[in-house]
């Protein structure tokens, strides 16, 4: 699998030639889905995520000529998208309400997951993931969004691969711990039901 620098070499060459329109077209083909997923993973709000993804891509388009290839193109794109998401969060003061929602949400998630029978197992699992601390939830979500790629999830979050792996392992361990706390005597059976 080519690394991030090699993979986007064609786009970088177009930028260097000054053909920013063609470069942007190719970049959108390759990254629009990933940028949207990153925004979804960070913002947990599809509408806000779409707005932020659009704004990120527009900002990328405007700054494309200034890209100096010091960092991998994907890193540069994800940094812009992450910053847009942070701005969106600040703008709407979601930061504070997220903490409140998380506090209440964790109870809801726990309550939702506590009684897995009436609810689909996958819905309960989703609720448990949503109730995880932010760094674990983001690592897990983006890892599975990007078809289990630690490298891509790390680039999206701006974290080293090792940290992503640690967060994934801790997130998974916490999930299993919460399952057993919820009285799921045999999480394996429940998990098999979810698949």
């Amino acid at each position: 699998m080519p690394d991030a620098l090699e993979r986007d070499q064609d786009i970088v060459q177009l930028i260097e030639r000054g053909d920013t329109e063609a470069a942007f077209g190719r970049l959108v083909d390759r990254y629009e889905q990933k940028v949207y997923r990153l925004c979804c993973g960070l913002l947990r709000d599809r509408v806000l995520a779409e707005d932020s993804a659009q704004e990120s891509l527009l900002r990328i388009w405007k700054s494309l000529a200034k890209y100096d290839a010091r960092a991998a193109l994907s890193t540069w794109i994800y940094t812009i998208a992450r910053n847009r998401c942070l701005t969106a969060l600040e703008r709407r003061q979601v930061g504070e309400s997220l903490i409140q929602r998380d506090a209440g949400g964790q109870l809801d998630h726990a309550a939702a997951a506590a009684n897995p029978e009436p609810m689909a197992a996958s819905t309960s699992l989703r609720a448990l993931v949503d109730g995880l601390p932010e760094r674990y939830r983001q690592a897990l979500t983006l890892f599975y969004f990007e078809e289990r790629s630690v490298g891509e999830a790390g680039a999206m979050l701006g974290l080293p691969d090792g940290t992503v792996k640690t967060n994934l392992a801790r997130g998974r361990a916490l999930l299993l711990e919460r399952m057993s706390q919820l009285g799921l005597s045999d999480p394996l059976l429940w998990l098999e039901e979810a698949t």
């Binding site: 949207y36 989703r126 993931v129 999480p187 394996l188 998990l191 979810a194 698949t195």
Partner: protein, 117 residues
């Protein structure tokens, strides 16, 4: 011990499969690309408008500066013009200014043609 490890492996595998199924990446909303292109077009129009206003301000400033310089130049050169051309000085001075104005207009027309968005 081997059985315990095997149980753990099975549990990990089941969790992995369940998470992969549950946390599927969201697809792009319908019309995402169209809205992006529209936003890009709007942004281009906005940039053009800003550039146009800036150009108009620059043109106005240039006109004022040229008018001031021309007036000052004529006032300074008038004694010499009168001495050199006598009664015709009143026609020579506006003639030179008209030539300068035509030159500026031609220059502006060429620059305008160069501006492409």
């Amino acid at each position: 011990m081997t059985e315990q490890l095997s149980d753990q492996d099975r549990l990990d595998g089941a969790l992995d499969r369940a998470l992969a199924k549950t946390l599927q990446g969201p697809s792009l909303p319908p019309g995402f690309r169209t809205r992006l292109l529209e936003a890009q077009y709007r942004q281009q129009l906005g940039d053009m408008r800003v550039e146009f206003v800036r150009l108009r301000w620059r043109t106005l400033a240039t006109l004022l500066a040229v008018a001031f310089v021309a007036g000052a130049g004529v006032a300074t050169a008038m004694p010499w013009l009168v001495e050199t051309f006598g009664g015709y000085a009143m026609y020579v001075a506006p003639g030179i200014l008209a030539l300068v104005a035509v030159g500026l207009a031609l220059n502006a027309a060429m620059r305008r043609r160069q501006i492409t968005f």
